[in-house]
Symmetry: C2
Subunit: 364 residues, 2 copies
């Protein structure tokens, strides 16, 4: 095991391959050469643990396993919430031709391509005021809500795409309070927010009443149950921020598709790197095409999540080689818009068992 | 045929369906209810012909056919380059619940999510200077190049994603001069631009020499020919702005995939609405997944095209119900990034015949 400061390229590649092999044997989830490259690029760019996760775009489960291997090989040091490549680690990265990450994100729209400030000012102000009293994110329901700017930007995006004004909108799971932001615009014909969390249902209905949003309604619903018949083929647009276990994701999206009136209708959802490998992204893309939809937009890092209070009890906390609380958002998702081209043949069946976790889960 | 100022909803729907049916009978390309809605939304938003095309997101071939039907039914007037819904047309749109388009595009990054100003200043300046003497876009090769901001933004995006620095980049068709912008950053290990147009090959090689870009090279290549053996499995990243006939698109992307070293490598391409229906987008997405790639980014309206000189001889000019030259960009494409998950089994065969046009072609 070389601990020299330079690596001949062949032994750098061999070491990299050995690290990959070890991680793959430990982990039932994909971990590719490109993932390793991204992980090293992130480590060349920052010593902040959470920034490294954000910049790596690799599922946290394998990423942390990779970090542990690097530490065991004397290539990485981890303490006080900081991750630092050792001289050997830097030499390895250099020999492999890995470059630091050079971000180009637009600061004005925070990389979303749409500007939420294009919304009417009172919508933005009222939403901010309402959010001051929102229910906190709790672990029971795998909650972690996005920043207010993100929620507003999603609404601005959907409005731009023609999925909001005069339309029937279904929000499947709404700790992001998309239903409220949408209703505040006055644009939708009707907004239904459904969620398993009674606090959210209560909160949204209270807001609807207090703010005079008479076309907004919230109803309790557990997506493991079949979609109520009155919601089938009723909506023009659905929005959701689904769990990322493949089964949970599929269940959620199918409920959304069942709720749509037919071809031409749209859906919005997010997917992360923290909890989904590109292998899973591809599996999901195939499922979507097989379900009769086309992907019309895919904007990575669109959605920024506010750090949730229970972060120290999420399952991945103990995988981390060093600990500190995050100071900024680190958990991001890619906004997807889909449009239905043909009505899929779907069953509206109850789903049993744990649909919320798979091998890539990290934050429950 | 009602020419009244209001429409009961049922007769609005009937009229819309009749218009759809007529267009579909005329046209061998898809035209959906949602397309009709988008087209009407655009007409509610602007009276400028080119803005209407841009905002419609519908292939120009069917869009213009739809406009002609609307004109025949007294719902639309077209003259002096302006398209105006008549009172009946507005009433129809209203009865169908169509709303005007409400754009939310970030003005700072022009909706790209990345800011090209994050590139080193000298790259931006030198590229601008070089572009002053670029070959003009000619119809022979289906050329129409993007704005300088767009080319630079693509490079900034690729750099951010780790597809540029230290990498081997292949540009398949380069009237956008992506090879030059990439080489100016000094980041890539090697850039090869290939094109059928000798003027571009000459221009790029002259620039490389003059600017001291010794890792940039341009070589003539006709993508109907098999990819030269020395380029197979050689590159980390390919970039292209392909023709949008399905066969032409597939051929171009397959050349790109054949040039990639293997899993983890990336490709970039654009797709428009002007020349591709969402039905074709879905067909393309399926082809990509079957070729072993995952779609990692899809940013619509990323690329803005400079109006080309031969616009009055493009095939769609005569389809337009009224004429005027465009004052601003109207032709946009969606930037796609793909990443290879597994090496596809592809043939490197010559392709015969016309691969540049299909029924949705509009600008050749
Ligand atoms: Fe921006």
């Amino acid at each position: 095991m070389p601990h020299t400061k330079t690596f001949p390229e062949t032994s750098a590649v061999e070491l990299r391959d050995r690290l990959l092999e070890t991680v793959r044997q430990q982990m039932p989830v994909p971990f590719t050469e490109r993932d390793a490259e991204r992980a090293l690029a992130a480590l060349l760019t920052t010593d902040n643990l959470w920034e490294a996760i954000r910049l790596s775009r690799v599922p946290l489960r394998v990423l942390s396993a990779f970090w542990h291997r690097l530490i065991a090989e004397g290539l990485l040091e981890a303490h006080d919430g900081a991750l630092r490549l050792t001289e050997s680690g830097q030499a390895l990265a250099q020999a492999l031709g890995v470059a630091p990450v050079r971000e180009a994100t637009c600061v004005h729209c925070e990389g979303r391509s749409v500007d939420y400030r294009t919304l009417p000012e009172d919508v933005v102000e009222r939403f901010a005021e309402i959010c001051r009293h929102r229910p906190e994110a709790i672990q029971d329901y795998d909650q972690g809500f996005v920043t207010e700017a993100t929620t507003l930007a999603r609404i601005a995006f959907a409005w731009h795409r023609g999925d909001l004004e005069g339309k029937q909108l279904l929000v499947l799971g709404d700790d992001d309070l998309m239903s409220i932001a949408a209703a505040l615009t006055g644009a939708p014909a009707y907004v239904l927010a459904v969620d398993i969390d009674d606090r959210l249902i209560q909160f949204i209905n209270d807001v609807a009443r207090r703010e005079g949003l008479d076309r907004l309604e919230a109803v309790r619903y557990d997506l493991r149950e079949p979609l109520p018949t009155s919601w089938l083929r009723k909506f023009d647009t659905f929005m959701t921020d689904p769990t990322e276990s493949f089964l949970g994701f599929k269940t959620t999206i199918e409920r959304g598709l069942l709720a749509l009136r037919g071809p031409g209708c749209a859906g919005y959802f997010g997917l992360t790197h923290v909890e989904s490998s590109y292998e899973k992204w591809a599996q999901i893309q195939r499922f979507l095409l097989d379900s009769g939809v086309v992907l019309t937009d895919l904007i990575d890092d669109f959605s920024a999540y506010v750090n949730w209070g229970y972060i120290e009890s999420m399952r991945s906390w103990e995988w981390l080689p060093t600990h500190r609380l995050p100071e900024r958002p680190w958990y991001y998702s890619a906004l997807h818009r889909i449009e239905l081209l043909r009505t899929p043949a779907l069953e509206n069946a109850a789903v049993e068992g744990d649909i919320f976790t798979d091998e890539e889960a990290a934050t429950t």
